[in-house]
């Protein structure tokens, strides 16, 4: 009967209830939607970070990260690969690369780039580069000793196209200047323009030839199934691989991204709180209005013998019902919005320069995390009940005589 009474009380003033519900629905919807969008950005940033040649785990020769030059190469590539094969779970992929800083030049321009010598067959699936990323021309093939892939943005900047020549200069293993002319085989696109500007890809054999590197590679990049278990596998690799090598997870390789992600949860929960504070004032105000409107009735209930805590309970029950209805509808709307946008994505191409600065993808696909949904609902329902306590206690504290004489 208490639930029935609470339900009827809620609908005494339908307009007020609808306004309150609308505020709650918008509040919870915005929490879920913005939470999903922020998580989508986060996932996009992680995916960009991992696929832009980082991988889940990387192995280098000791000292390479401090000075990424060709002299810090891994000589015993076969031995490491043998160890990796024993440790990595089924479904993992890895590739080795030769990676050095270089200068790219043509007749019009020159710029600093990262030259990456890749294994054309093993690279796709480990990073973004592969046949699918090539928008003009074709992808590299093993044994191709003068082909190069450059990014779309770099091609525009250099005013060049496939079939044209580009010169790369770098330091070889003997600390001499090495340079080599390459023919643009293909132009690739990447999620971020900076990747298109700063990376050029050649085959590892041509890189080796240019840098006079007989064997070995600069790095091994590993992708784990579903990007899971990196810490445990890193630990296992560290036990198995000699100390002359360094093994890092993507979190260690991308420290700025990692700290940004750590702040993400905090930002989101602050955002939830901000929304709730705005909503909370509405809840208190509306509940207080409803309580004052029914002051005489509370006086009657007390006169009849209703104890104060039962009055508090009845007011809280009404708030709880409203909160549950509001959050339920808000959740449904939030889920539908996220579902729709997770198919179409949110296109930030017009903001790509700014978005890229923050490491964001051009298209964001919102993602729902159960913990965010739970948090949003707990914040709204939990804190909603807490702020409803004030009007509830107020109702319980009316003396019957003052309440009954209230007009």
């Amino acid at each position: 009967m208490q639930i029935q009474i609470a339900w009827r009380n809620i609908w005494r003033n339908p307009r007020r209830t609808m306004i309150m519900l609308t505020a709650m629905i918008i509040g919870i919807w915005s929490m879920i939607f913005l939470g999903g969008m922020m998580r989508g950005m986060m996932v996009g940033m992680i995916n960009n970070g991992i696929s832009t040649l980082t991988g889940d785990i990387q192995i280098h020769a000791k000292g390479y990260r401090d000075d990424p030059s060709i002299e810090y190469f891994m000589p015993d590539l076969k031995g490491i690969e043998k160890t990796i094969n024993k440790i990595l779970p089924r479904g993992s992929r890895y590739t080795s690369r030769i990676r050095v800083n270089a200068i790219a030049a043509n007749a019009r321009h020159s710029t600093g780039v990262t030259m990456v010598g890749i294994h054309p067959v093993k690279e796709p699936g480990v990073s973004f580069i592969g046949p699918g990323a090539v928008v003009h021309g074709r992808y590299l093939v093993p044994g191709n000793n003068n082909g190069i892939l450059i990014g779309r943005a770099m091609a525009e900047k250099f005013g060049t196209k496939t079939g044209h020549k580009i010169i790369l200069m770098s330091e070889n293993i003997q600390h001499d200047i090495a340079s080599k002319a390459f023919i643009i085989m293909g132009i690739f696109k990447a999620e971020m323009q900076s990747t298109e500007k700063h990376f050029v890809f050649v085959t590892s054999s041509s890189a080796r030839h240019m840098l006079k590197l007989a064997k070995g590679a600069s790095e091994i990049s590993i992708i784990l199934p579903h990007h899971k278990g990196d810490k445990k596998i890193t630990w296992n690799l560290r036990q198995a691989i000699p100390d002359s090598y360094e093994i890092h997870t993507w979190q260690e390789l991308l420290p700025i991204l990692t700290s940004y992600l750590k702040m993400f949860d905090g930002f989101m929960y602050i955002w939830f709180l901000v929304i709730f504070i705005a909503m909370g004032f509405g809840i208190v105000n509306t509940t207080l209005m409803a309580v004052y409107e029914r002051m005489k009735e509370f006086g009657l209930l007390k006169a009849l013998g209703m104890r104060p805590w039962l009055i508090i309970r009845s007011v809280l029950l009404e708030s709880f019902m409203l909160l549950v209805i509001g959050t339920a509808i808000g959740n449904c709307m939030g889920f539908l919005t996220i579902h729709f946008l997770s198919i179409t994505g949110i296109n930030l191409t017009s903001l790509s320069a700014g978005a890229e600065f923050a490491g964001l993808s051009r298209i964001i696909y919102p993602v729902l995390y159960p913990k965010d949904i739970i948090m949003a609902n707990v914040v709204v329902i939990g804190l909603g009940l807490v702020v409803s306590l004030y009007p509830a206690v107020k109702a319980a504290r009316f003396t019957p005589v003052e309440a009954l004489s209230h007009e």
Binding site: M1, Q2, I5, R8, N9, R12, K296, E297, L300, L301, K302, A303, L304, G305, M306, R307, P308, L310, T399, P400, V401, L404
Partner: protein
């Protein structure tokens, strides 16, 4: 020997309205036996409602003692007073004070819900009391769908259904026409006779005063007359 249902001694109550002190009750003493049907009469401002509020435990006296149904109000917490009202005292108000979202039946049931009476018994007793008060066709009507007389009968049914020893009614017929008011008084009298419930009601209506078995007259916060007509 009759046991007193209400025993008030030297009740003093003063209200403060800003800088003005209003002496509502100036040392009122009153005893009412179980089963009496008493009218508390007097002009407006004579202290009738103040006395009813104090006897009903809705307000506290500045000094004096109140014993209702054998229980002293002295040192009773709000919660214990609420429990005492719930189980021993019924209230009928001038402006009916029914809960607008509940039907007549639910309004009557509500007090028993607070008492923890099982649902089936609540329903049976409510139906019975509504039949006794002539509301057999109004079980499911909300207060807004009832006339003033019908609403006041629901209020009387609500006051009686929990089997209180005392019913306090503050000018129960003031908002009713004389015929409806007389009908209500007859119902109250019937309940008084049937259930031996003590009725104490305030009024300044001569018809109501004539109807009471005992008439207590008040003026300026004091009892100026006490006439037993039976």
């Amino acid at each position: 020997m009759h046991r007193n249902c209400v025993e008030c001694r030297d009740i003093i109550k003063t209200y403060h309205q800003g800088k003005i002190c209003v002496h509502a009750l100036n040392g009122v003493s009153l005893s009412i036996e179980q089963g009496e049907f008493v009218a508390l009469a007097g002009p407006s401002g004579s202290g009738k409602t103040s006395l009813l509020n104090i006897i009903g435990g809705l307000d506290k006296a500045d000094s004096g003692s109140v014993i209702v149904t054998g229980k002293s109000f002295e040192n009773l917490s709000d919660s214990k007073l609420a429990k005492l009202r719930l189980n021993n005292i019924g209230f009928v108000f001038q402006s009916y004070n029914l809960i607008p979202v509940l039907s007549a039946l639910e309004n009557v049931e509500y007090v028993m819900l607070l008492q923890g009476v099982p649902a089936e018994e609540r329903y049976e007793r409510s139906i019975q009391i509504l039949n006794d008060t002539g509301l057999e066709d109004k079980y499911n009507s909300r207060p807004a769908e009832l006339s003033g007389g019908q609403q006041q009968r629901v209020a009387v049914a609500r006051a009686i259904v929990s089997n209180p020893m005392l019913v306090l009614a503050d000018e129960p017929t003031a908002n009713l026409d004389s015929e409806t008011g007389m009908g209500l008084l007859e119902i109250m009298k019937k309940m008084n006779r049937l259930k031996k419930v003590t009725f104490l009601f305030s009024t300044h209506d001569n018809m109501v005063m004539d109807f009471a078995d005992r008439l207590v007259l008040m003026k300026d916060g004091e009892i100026v007359g006490d006439k037993n007509k039976v």
